[in-house]
Amino acid sequence: MIEAVETYATAEEAARALGSGGALYLAGGTLVMAEVNANRAPPRLVRALDPALRQIVPTSEAIRLGAGVTMAQILGSRDCAVLHEVARQIGGPQVRSMATVGGNLFARNPYGDFAVALLALGARAVLAGQTSPRPLADLLRDRDRPALVSQIEVPRPRDERSFGFVKLARVHPRGASVLCIAALLPREGSRLRGVRVAYGGMADRPVRAAAVERALEGNTLEEATIARAVAVAAQGLDPPTDALASGWYRREVVGVQLRRLLERLARQ
């Protein structure tokens, strides 16, 4: 039962209020209100009305997304074109007008597709009241610890065609992910340099596919390279079994999806 909803003007004040514990931060509501409705939420909800949380600030190097930016805002912003493919595949229109970028970082399986894309793009998160950004992987690792993200910095890929995203769902056109894959494959000449591949649904949080990255890095994106990457697609991973799919199925199918994504990126 919710006893109080505390509304603050700034993200910093909201972060301090969260620090005392027994509270959840409410952003778009798609995750937290579902907990409230199911009577699983702690007694306090904390909100912030800070307009900076809803701002998209493009710079030449990066896109700075306020943590409260919604998927619909991403789709409406030309500066976020590289993320449109991802945002389009999240929820239906109602979810997209509510769900936020910051909330997605804390979404449990089978949600959290956007965080997977951000991880592949090398995004960094700024916590409320702090100035130096943290790599997303760190934040995802300790996401049980209360923290309020105020902004996410997404480095702009030099070539937007070097980024791709694929999602496997059982319900079409919009279902939750069995798994999803985001890949950033920058090229120097014909060689791949600075490869980042991230998976959703293959662990308890979005993770980098280290073996796949090693198979791709420094090579040309041709059939033999793709075959080597696909062969190690599930290496080192023990994907979860849930209502959508078994861990066995995820291990079997991740290589198929990876191949489709790599072949598409090789063509574009």
Binding site: T30, V36, Q94, M98, R174
Partner: protein, 157 residues
């Protein structure tokens, strides 16, 4: 438990009611304001039966904190018809797009949100627009046909 007064605009008219702490917009509209048109389906954001339009965007009322609509505009099916049914409602009747009718208010609001922005949608855009709304008996084809027919009659113009 503290109750907060919430003043907002419902279907063009200013309304005020008390929201309980943590109360969602669906419960607030139905019990607090007396607008029974948005339906409770799952309370988890999975079915779309509670879809309303908030400041022009379709949202799930069950996942919206009631007090967060203070000062904002909410549209529900209760505001669709004037003297005559809304063209979308006419089209839903003409195309038998409601069988049990439980998903209909959510479908209508998703369709209205689409036509408000895209008066002449493609079939693909219609399918996308209602992709967050579950129907378990009518079937989606008559609903898609009704929305396309309403668009042709200028429902969104």
């Amino acid at each position: 438990m503290a109750k907060k007064p919430v003043t907002f605009v419902l279907n063009g008219a200013e309304r005020a009611a008390f929201a309980e702490a943590g109360q969602n917009l669906l419960d607030f509209l139905r019990r607090g304001v007396g607008d029974l048109t948005p339906k409770y389906g799952c309370g988890q954001g999975g079915c779309g039966a509670c879809t309303v339009i908030l400041d022009g965007e379709p949202v799930l009322a069950c996942l919206t904190l009631a007090e967060s609509v203070a000062g904002r505009r909410v549209e529900t099916v209760a505001g669709l018809a004037g003297a005559a049914p809304h063209p979308l409602q006419e089209a839903f009747m003409a195309h038998f797009a409601a069988q049990c009718g439980y998903c209909t208010p959510g479908m209508l609001m998703s369709a209205k949100a689409l036509l408000d922005r895209t008066p002449r949608p493609t079939r693909e855009q219609v399918v996308e627009a209602i992709s967050g709304n579950l129907c378990r008996c009518t079937g989606y084809e008559p609903i898609i046909a009704a929305i396309l027919a309403a668009a042709e009659r200028g429902a969104g113009a």
